[in-house]
C-alpha cells in the first residue's frame, strides 16, 4: 500500500508534537549543525594527524622499561560510550518486559542513543589501533581461531550482536510509526520511508510486538550481563599480572557504573528534546523522577562495589594490590568521581523519598555528575592498573600518563558527533513513539 508523504494535516494532536522536529530547520538548528560540525571536523583533523605520525602523538607509551602505559583515555572513552549505550534498549526492554510504562515516552530517544553511542564506541576502538586499515581483514581472517581464546574478539562479537539487535529492533518498531504518520512526514525523505515500510500491513503490528518482545529479552540478557558486565570487564579482570584489575568484582562494578552513565545520559537527551520542542506533556515530569530514582539505585550499587575494592586492597592485601589501591586512594581525580556519584545518589535518593525535593531541572543537574564521573573513574581504572603491574622491579614502574591535545580533542569530537547524529535523526525519523499508550 503506497503512502504519499508531505501533505499537512490540520488536526492538532500527539502526532503534531511528534512531527515538530521534522519541520523546516530554524536558524538555531543550522547554528547547531555548524558548531557541532566544526568541533567534529577539528577532531577528524586531529585523528588525521595521528594517522600520519603514529600514536606517538598521544601520551601513551609501553609499560616496563619505557615508563608509560599503552592504553589510556581512548579505551576509557570506548568503555564510557558503551556504557552510555546501555540506557537505550534497557529502557525499551523495561517497558516491554516489565511493563514499566513510565519510561515509554523516552524509549525511542533511548534506542537512538544506543545506536549513536555504540557507533562512537566502535570508532574509539578504531582510533586506538596502530593499524586501523587492517582491522577488518585481519580480524575476519583469524576469527575462527581467535574466537576461542581472545577476550578482545569476544568483545567484538558481543558489540556486533548488541548493535545489530538494537538496529533490528528500531527497524521493526518504526514501521508502524512511519506508516501512521504517513502523509505528514516531510516528502524529501519519501524514498527512505518507503524502504522502511516496505511490505508493511497494519495487521503485522501484533506480531511485530511479539518479535520485539523476544528482541528485548535477548538484549536484556546480553547487554547488562554479557557485554558491560561481561566481555568488557573481562578484558581487564582476567589479567592476573595487573593486580588492580584481577578480581571477579570488576564485572558488577563495570555494570553498575555503566547503568549510571546510561540513565544519566538518557535524562540529558530527553531533557534537551523536551526543552527545545516544548514536550512537557509528551515527556512528563514523572518520567524524570523515575529515571532519577533508578539512577540513585545503580549509583548506590556503584559506590558499594568501590567500597569492596578499597577495603580489600587496603586491609592486608598482597603488595601488588596494595600498591595499586594506594595509588587509587591518593588520586584526587578518583575522589572527584566518587563525590560526584555520591552527591547525585544522595539528591536523587532523597527526591524519591520526599517528592517535595523533586524538580526536573535538579534531576538533570544531578544526572550530569555520574555521566562525567564514569569517564574519570574508568580512565583512571585503566591507567592506574597499567601503571602498577605485578612485575614492578623496573626503574620506570610506576609509569606515567597524561593525555595530549589529540586525545582531548576526541572527547569533544565524539560529543559533537552524537549531537550531529541526533540533530539529523530527529529530522528524518520520529523520535517519539506514535501510540500514547503501549498496548500489550
Amino acid at each position: 500500500m503506497r503512502q504519499t508523504f508531505g501533505v499537512r494535516s490540520r488536526v492538532p494532536s500527539r502526532a503534531d508534537h511528534i512531527l515538530k522536529p521534522m519541520g523546516k530547520p530554524s536558524t538555531r538548528y543550522y547554528l547547531l549543525l555548524v558548531t557541532a560540525g566544526a568541533v567534529a571536523l577539528w577532531f577528524f583533523l586531529a585523528w588525521g594527524w595521528q594517522l600520519r605520525y603514529g600514536l606517538v602523538v598521544t601520551g601513551l607509551a609501553d609499560w616496563g622499561t619505557s615508563g608509560g602505559v599503552p592504553w589510556g583515555i581512548y579505551i576509557g572513552l570506548f568503555i564510557w560510550w558503551v556504557g552510555i549505550s546501555h540506557g537505550g534498549i534497557l529502557i525499551s526492554a523495561g517497558v516491554r518486559l516489565f511493563k514499566l510504562r513510565v519510561f515509554y515516552p523516552v524509549a525511542r530517544l533511548a534506542e537512538l542513543l544506543t545506536i549513536g553511542a555504540l557507533s562512537i564506541a566502535g570508532l574509539f576502538i578504531i582510533i586506538d589501533l596502530g593499524r586501523p586499515d587492517r582491522v577488518v581483514t585481519s580480524v575476519i581472517r583469524a576469527y575462527a581461531t581467535t574466537v576461542h581464546t581472545s577476550p578482545l574478539i569476544w568483545d567484538v562479537t558481543v558489540i556486533t550482536l548488541y548493535f545489530v539487535l538494537t538496529a533490528t529492533y528500531l527497524l521493526l518498531t518504526i514501521r508502524h510509526d512511519i506508516y501512521h504518520l504517513g502523509r505528514r512526514l516531510p516528502s524529501y525523505f519519501a524514498p527512505l520511508y518507503r524502504l522502511l515500510t516496505h511490505g508493511y500491513k497494519p495487521e503485522e503490528d501484533k506480531k511485530v510486538e511479539r518479535m520485539a518482545w523476544w528482541l528485548a529479552f535477548a538484549v536484556v540478557i546480553l547487554a547488562p550481563f554479557l557485554l558491560h558486565g561481561g566481555v568488557i570487564p573481562w578484558l581487564f579482570q582476567l589479567i592476573a599480572s595487573m593486580p588492580a584489575w584481577f578480581s571477579p568484582i570488576q564485572a558488577p562494578t563495570f555494570l553498575s557504573i555503566a547503568l549510571t552513565s546510561a540513565f544519566g545520559s538518557v535524562v540529558l537527551v530527553a531533557y534537551v528534546f523536551r526543552r527545545v520542542y516544548g514536550w512537557t506533556e509528551i515527556i512528563p515530569d514523572k518520567a524524570f523522577a523515575r529515571m532519577g530514582s533508578v539512577l540513585s539505585l545503580v549509583g548506590l550499587f556503584f559506590l558499594w562495589f568501590q567500597l569492596q575494592a578499597i577495603i580489600t586492597g587496603a586491609f592486608a592485601a598482597p603488595v601488588g594490590l596494595r600498591t595499586a589501591t594506594e595509588a587509587k586512594v591518593e588520586d584526587p581525580i578518583y575522589w572527584t568521581a566518587i563525590v560526584l556519584v555520591a552527591a547525585a545518589v544522595l539528591y536523587l535518593g532523597a527526591q524519591t523519598i520526599w517528592s517535595a525535593l523533586f524538580s526536573v531541572r535538579r534531576v538533570v543537574i544531578a544526572s550530569i555528575a555520574p555521566v562525567l564521573a564514569t569517564l574519570f573513574e574508568k580512565t583512571l581504572f585503566i591507567v592506574e592498573g597499567l601503571e602498577n603491574p605485578a612485575f614492578d622491579i623496573y626503574k620506570a614502574v610506576p609509569g606515567h600518563y597524561f593525555p595530549t591535545w589529540v586525545e582531548i580533542s576526541s572527547i569533544f569530537g565524539a560529543v559533537a558527533m552524537l549531537v550531529l547524529f541526533f540533530a539529523i535523526a530527529a529530522k528524518v525519523v520520529p523520535v517519539i513513539e506514535v501510540e500514547a499508550e503501549h498496548e500489550e
Binding site: G54, A61, D62, S66, R134, T149, L152, P389, K395
Partner: protein, 399 residues
C-alpha cells in the same frame, strides 16, 4: 684492541676457543678467515672499525678464497619512500655494515660449530638427575623443539654488551630494549645483582591467546613466539597481558630501516624478523633468520663476553644450554639454584635462570655500565614525542 668496547680476539676466553677449535667441522673454506671476518664484523657493528676498512681488509682474501667478493648489497628496496629522514649515504653505510655482519656471521657460524640448533626428539624430563623444573615438572612441550635459554646470572656483570648487540642487530629505535639488563639490590642477596630480561618465549603464552588477529603466534617448528608484522593491527593487548613487560610498540616511524630489505621474512614467508613498522608491536624474536638458515644461535648469546647466555633446544638433553646446566651442577657439587621468572602466572616461560630470584624487596639500582655509556636510551618515555603543531608550541608543548 682493548679499546673496542671490550671486544677482543679472545672474547670467548681461551678455554672456550680451544674447545670450539676442536669441534670445528671440516669445510672446504678457510676457517681462520671466517673467524677473523666474524670478529672484525662485530667490531664494525660496535663502531670500532669503519666499513671501508672492513671491506678493504678482506677484499683480497675474499677474492683468493671464493673467487668473488660478494659484499655488494642491493640498495633498491632498502631505501623506500618512507618517512625516514636519513640521507642516502647513511643508509648505505648501514647496509654495508649489515651486509658485512650477515656474511661474516655465516662464516662465523661455521667457526662456532653451527650446531646449536638441535633437532631430534625430546627425551625424558631430566638431565643427569636434575629435573627440568617447570610448574608441573614436565617437559614444556612433549616431543617438540622448544628453543629457550639458560641464563647464568652469577656470571653476569652488567656490561650491557648483549643489549647493545641486540639493539644494533635489529635496528631498534631509541629506548626499544628488547633485551634489558636490570641491576638490583635485594635483602636476601649480597651486593649488586643482575637480571637479564628478554622475551621468555613461553609455552603457554598469554600474548598469543589474546591476540585478536593471531599476528602474535608460536611457531610450530621451534617454539619461537613471533609477531607477524603484516597482520598486526596494533591493539597492544599483548603488551597489556604480558606479565614480563617485554613488548615494545612502534609508536612512530622507526628510526632505522631493516638492513638491505624492508620486509624480512622467515622460512614461511612471514614478516617476523627485525624491527616492526609504525603501528605494530615488536619484541625479542630469538633471531628467526639465524634459526632458519641453520646457524641456530642468537646475537646476544654470541656477543656476551662472560658466557652468561646459552641458547638452544630445552627439550633436547644434548643441547648446549642443557649440557651447561649439567656441567654447572657438577661444578657446584650437585646443588644448583635455578628459577623461572613469574612462574606462578602459568605462562610456562622458557628461560631458565641460574641464581636467586629477586624477592619482593628487590629495588633497582644503577649498574656498573649505564645505558647512556653505550649511547642507548633507557627510559623510552623521555624520547617518545611526536611532532607538535604550531598551536601546541604556543601553549608550551604537550603536558
Amino acid at each position: 684492541m682493548e679499546d673496542n668496547k671490550g671486544l677482543t680476539g679472545s672474547e670467548f676466553g681461551e678455554e672456550k676457543n680451544e674447545r670450539v677449535e676442536q669441534s670445528l667441522p671440516v669445510t672446504q673454506f678457510d676457517a681462520d678467515l671466517g673467524k677473523e671476518v666474524a670478529r672484525d664484523a662485530r667490531i664494525l657493528v660496535a663502531g670500532g672499525l669503519s666499513e671501508v676498512e672492513f671491506y678493504q681488509r678482506y677484499h683480497q682474501a675474499y677474492l683468493k678464497e671464493f673467487g668473488i667478493d660478494g659484499r655488494q648489497i642491493n640498495q633498491g628496496e632498502g631505501n623506500t619512500a618512507s618517512e625516514s629522514t636519513f640521507p642516502k649515504q647513511i643508509s648505505r653505510r648501514t647496509l654495508l655494515k649489515a651486509g658485512g655482519v650477515a656474511l661474516a656471521s655465516i662464516l662465523g657460524a661455521r667457526w662456532l660449530g653451527g650446531k646449536a640448533y638441535a633437532s631430534g626428539p625430546a627425551t625424558g624430563d631430566n638431565y643427569d638427575g636434575l629435573p627440568l623444573r617447570g610448574e608441573d615438572d614436565q617437559p614444556q612441550q612433549n616431543g617438540r623443539v622448544q628453543m629457550g635459554m639458560v641464563v647464568d646470572l652469577e656470571k653476569c656483570d652488567g656490561c650491557l654488551d648483549c643489549v647493545y648487540a641486540c639493539q644494533k642487530h635489529n635496528f631498534n629505535s631509541a629506548g626499544v630494549l628488547w633485551l634489558y639488563v636490570l641491576a638490583y639490590r635485594d635483602e636476601n642477596q649480597d651486593g649488586r645483582n643482575f637480571l637479564v630480561r628478554l622475551c621468555q618465549h613461553c609455552s603457554n603464552p598469554p600474548c598469543v591467546k589474546v591476540c585478536p588477529v593471531r599476528a602474535r603466534h608460536k611457531r610450530e617448528k621451534d617454539g619461537l613466539v613471533l609477531t607477524n608484522y603484516s597482520t598486526c593491527i596494533g591493539c597492544r593487548y599483548c603488551m597489556v597481558t604480558c606479565p614480563y613487560g617485554v613488548n615494545y610498540f612502534q609508536w612512530s616511524d622507526p628510526e632505522y630501516q631493516n638492513y638491505y630489505h624492508p620486509k624480512l621474512t622467515d622460512y614461511r614467508g612471514w614478516w617476523v624478523i627485525g624491527n616492526p613498522p609504525k603501528g605494530v608491536m615488536g619484541k625479542c624474536t630469538f633471531c628467526p633468520d639465524r634459526q632458519d638458515d641453520g646457524r641456530g644461535n642468537v646475537v646476544c648469546a654470541l656477543t656476551c663476553p662472560h658466557n652468561v647466555l646459552h641458547f638452544g633446544d630445552l627439550n633436547d638433553p644434548n643441547s648446549e644450554p642443557r649440557r651447561y646446566l649439567v656441567e654447572k651442577t657438577k661444578e657446584k657439587g650437585g646443588q644448583l639454584s635455578t628459577f623461572r621468572l613469574l612462574e606462578n602466572y602459568g605462562t610456562k616461560p622458557n628461560i631458565i635462570y641460574i641464581g636467586q630470584q629477586p624477592s619482593r624487596s628487590a629495588r633497582p639500582v644503577e649498574g656498573p655500565v649505564s645505558y647512556a655509556d653505550w649511547g642507548l636510551v633507557e627510559k623510552r618515555l623521555t624520547v617518545l614525542e611526536g611532532p607538535e603543531p604550531w598551536f601546541m608550541k604556543a601553549f608550551g608543548g604537550n603536558p
